[in-house]
């Protein structure tokens, strides 16, 4: 089992979600987040005082999947999140030891 974590542009969430649903992924966790990478921040001006804002708003999306589906899931996320401009984000994969569905107590593959 794998945990796929993706940091994407907020306005691409809908595209990524649709792409994952299209290949049968049934759940995900999404949180608002912020950070910076190569895109850097922006400047804002208040009464003439200019501030740099380094942290850019992003969406963090997490999906638990079977290992054998990894490639198609990564494919769906990168295609859905792609604009070609700087700041499209990153995706990484973490191995997962165990998953439990709280309601039923099912474990492993059955809990996905």
């Amino acid at each position: 089992m794998k945990l796929v974590t993706a940091i994407i542009k907020p306005f691409k969430l809908e595209d990524v979600k649709n792409a994952l649903e299209a290949i049968g992924v049934r759940g995900m966790t999404v949180s608002e987040s912020s950070g910076f990478g190569r895109q850097g921040g922006h400047t804002e001006v208040y009464r003439g005082a200019e501030y740099t804002v380094d942290l850019v708003p992003k969406v963090r999306l997490e999906v638990l999947i079977d290992s054998d589906r990894l490639d198609e899931v990564l494919d769906a996320i990168t295609k859905g999140a792609h604009t070609g401009k700087i700041g499209d984000g990153k995706v990484w994969v973490t191995p997962v030891e165990e998953v439990i569905r709280v309601r039923t107590g099912e474990r492993g593959h059955d809990a996905l």
């Binding site: 804002e44 001006v45 208040y46 009464r47 003439g48 005082a49 501030y51 804002v53």
Partner: protein
Amino acid sequence: MDSALNTGDTAWMLTAAAMVLLMIPGLAFFYGGMVRSKSVLNMLMMVMGALFIVGVLWVLFGYSMTFGTSIGGVIGDPTEFFGLESLMADDPESTLPIMAFVAFQGMFACLTVGLIAGAIPDRTKFNGWLIFGGIWAILVYFPVAHWVWASGGWIFEMGVIDFAGGTAVHINAGAAALALAIVIGKRAGWPRTPMRPHNLTLVMIGAGLLWFGWFGFNAGSALAANNTSAVVFLNTFAATCAAAIGWLVVEKLRDGHMTTLGAASGIVAGLVAITPACSAVSPVGGLIVGVLAGVICALAVSLKYRFGYDDSLDVVGVHLVGGLLGTLLIGFLATDLAPAGVNGLFYGGGAEQLGKQAIGAFSVMAYSFVVALIIGLILKAAGIMRISRDDELSGIDLVEHAESAYELGDSGGGGHFVGVGAGSVRRDREEI
């Protein structure tokens, strides 16, 4: 028995007084949106707290100190109308019940003290602020309002025009704000740490309420529902629109964007500048006062970075500078076609009015600055002026008021109910 009471005037003055009251929460929102989310409640409470304290003082002896029989042109007799009891009786010869005037003027006192709070958010002890506000009202606002507006007051008798309070309200509060910003010192991290306004929609709501209430402030200062109040109303409208444009054009040329905060600030700058002048200029004169206020105040708010004082929400740049501008512009733009009936320099009236305006403005500025500085230094020495650096960094709302402004999640913060009045129980236990 015949009564001279004019019901139209009375209805308008009671309405205008309520409109000025509405400016106070308006000011609280205007300021509150500009601070960070961790100190918005304290900002609201500083402005509202000034209302509570000064309102009580006004009823007890503030009105009497301001409009009682003049003692040497300097102060009204504080005992004459103590507690206002003697003013309750119906006076059949008066067109306006005196209590309507007392209420209207009381709102001015409360608002003026509230204005000062914008210079010192995030870092001022709440009880220290309330004590400062009360003492400043007694030592500065009541006397200055007497000088400027009361029959017998020395500035009034000199022939200075301050229709609704450019000198008595805005220069007065702005000078005190400068003194207090210097005494209390900079916010931790200013100016390197970004201190962005946390809610600009709240700022614009505040500016809108201020603008609405300001019609009561200015047009109500005619003390009647008549031609003067209507001219003043229109001039107030004209100057404010022009000021917002002036501020936004400066921003567009200097920074590249017209901002929401700039629009809200321009509105207030225009209202401040037209306040003393609204009875003395033509509508086109009002437009000129407004656009100059917008441009000059937009430039003036940057002075604090050059001189290194943290007037956090620009009380000096908007109220002191805007108040000075409007007060002095009367000397140039006054026309005898307007209700005040005086000609300024540009209308062939010579420099006489300008000289009077300058004497009034700079006297009040100097007096307010010095007395505010002294009160501030005494309270600072007593240790009741500024919260600790740690408290400031973690947020004054929690430290001074035990509240958070925004609870947007569903987790309840992960706590539990402790009990009613549990704070005092816990304090007792900690003492043991």
